[in-house]
């Protein structure tokens, strides 16, 4: 299973942010996206996830295999951990939440309302939610926001675990997650679009 991106253009509001983006990620690997804020990392991830249309270029991956998450974990504070996860399992058509609970160490928290979790626990729940979707490709956008150093270390371990189970991750982050050899880094500044590039020559406003 591979995710291949070739010659992809990333736009926001008809403006080219990035162009000619290309990379390939295989199972068990992670790709770390680097680049200054506003470069287009979020838009790139959302384009791969299918939330934004592809205007130019290709994204090749098995159908329905990616899932996108930013640092907002989508945890409802009035629902328990179990209710939160069972909802997502049901929506994505997977069987059970047991594996997710076990892997992320949430057994003792299973009936606790989401609002009573610490930041680190919420992040674990967020990842458990991704696992429960059953999709192997995780597209993560600045996932370590609001986590302290210890939690970041734990987060890195959990991603490593996902990779070891055959999953894949594309992560936009400034932090070193300690994934070692599993992760490659890609600096997106090289794909920054030149200002003269236009979406469609006839629609030139310039």
């Amino acid at each position: 299973m591979t995710l291949t991106v070739s010659n992809l253009s990333v736009l926001r509001a008809s403006r080219h942010l990035l162009s000619g983006v290309g990379f390939e990620v295989s199972a068990g690997q992670a790709l770390i996206l680097r680049g200054p804020n506003g470069l287009g990392k979020t838009t790139l991830l959302r384009t791969i996830a299918g939330l934004q249309p592809v205007y130019q270029g290709h994204v090749d991956m098995p159908e329905d295999s990616a899932v996108y998450a930013a640092h907002l974990d989508g945890i409802k504070s009035t629902l328990t951990v179990r209710e939160n996860l069972e909802f997502w399992a049901s929506v994505f058509g997977t069987d059970s939440i047991g594996a997710g609970i076990a892997t992320f160490d949430m057994e003792h928290l299973i009936d606790r309302p989401g609002g009573m979790l610490s930041a680190g626990q919420k992040r674990r729940l967020g990842l458990a939610r991704l696992m429960v979707t059953g999709r192997p490709i995780w597209l993560l956008d600045e996932p370590t926001v609001s986590l302290d150093t210890v939690a970041v270390g734990q987060f890195g371990d959990m991603i490593a675990g996902h990779l070891d189970r055959g999953g894949m991750a594309v992560i936009a982050t400034h932090i070193d997650l300690g994934l070692g050899a599993r992760a490659e880094t890609l600096d997106l500044s090289q794909f920054k679009a030149a200002p003269e590039q236009k979406y469609n020559p006839n629609e030139a406003f310039l």
Partner: protein
């Protein structure tokens, strides 16, 4: 030479710049002739006196108010299907004109109604429909103003225009039912112009023509402004 060439903003700007003076001049001519003729050179109506002459403003404004929305619907569809920015901006430019025309319709309707019915307002089906149209216009303009991303705004307002059009037609019939349903035969409609004799009809036609030309001129001017605004922000964003 196809009309679609003018979807290119640069071509549109140059072409519209050339034709606007003609439309503006034509509008000024027809409106002033129509109004002067209508007000001063026609006899007073034997029933309504001179107040009926407000139809020279009321009817054209009403026609434009409705057709402006229809034009917005067409240009919105063109935007959704062919993604021509000029089309979306034309819709955006037409809306404020539609609002003003609707207001003129309502105000002249009230001015007409006061001497006739003794009140400044009546919930007659036509006036009420225009009031609802006014609300639709307001919502459309407000939505454009609320959204930062211009393409998203164009998309959302286009869908709103389409859905709104269906509901506007629906409202027209609902309001007809609402007013005549309870008080059969007591409708105070301003349909008098259907019985307007020839001598009134010709200046009315002049006035209508003038308003149409005015509308075209204003939409072209407004669209040019919108294109320039987009250009300026695109330059700033570099």
């Amino acid at each position: 030479m196809s009309l679609w060439e003018y979807a290119n903003p640069v071509k549109f700007l140059s072409f519209s710049g050339k034709i606007i003076p003609w439309f503006a001049a034509g509008a000024a001519f027809f409106i002033s002739v129509g109004l002067y003729w209508g007000y001063f050179l026609t006899p007073d109506d034997y029933k309504q006196g001179s107040t009926v002459k407000i139809i020279y403003l009321h009817v054209p404004a009403a026609l434009i108010a409705i057709n402006a929305w229809f034009m917005m619907l067409v240009t919105s569809l063109i935007w959704l299907i062919r993604r021509h920015h000029v089309s979306a901006l034309a819709a955006k430019a037409a809306a404020p004109i539609g609002i003003v025309m609707t207001l003129i319709t309502l105000i002249t309707g009230a001015l007409w109604g006061q001497p006739m019915w003794g009140t400044w307002w009546a919930w007659d089906p036509r006036l009420t429909s225009f009031l609802i149209l006014f609300l639709f216009y307001l919502g459309y303009v407000a939505l454009w103003a609320a959204i930062d991303n211009p393409d998203t705004a164009a998309d959302l307002t286009s869908v709103l225009c389409m859905v709104g059009s269906v509901f506007a037609v629906l409202s027209r019939y609902a309001v007809l039912f609402w007013n005549q349903g309870l008080h059969q035969g007591a409708s105070l409609s301003l349909d008098k112009e259907k019985n307007v004799a020839d001598v009134f009809y010709q200046p009315l036609l002049m006035s209508i023509t003038g308003f149409v030309l005015l509308f075209v001129a204003l939409v072209l001017i407004g669209t040019r402004t919108e294109i320039r605004i987009r250009r300026a922000s695109a330059l700033l964003a570099r």
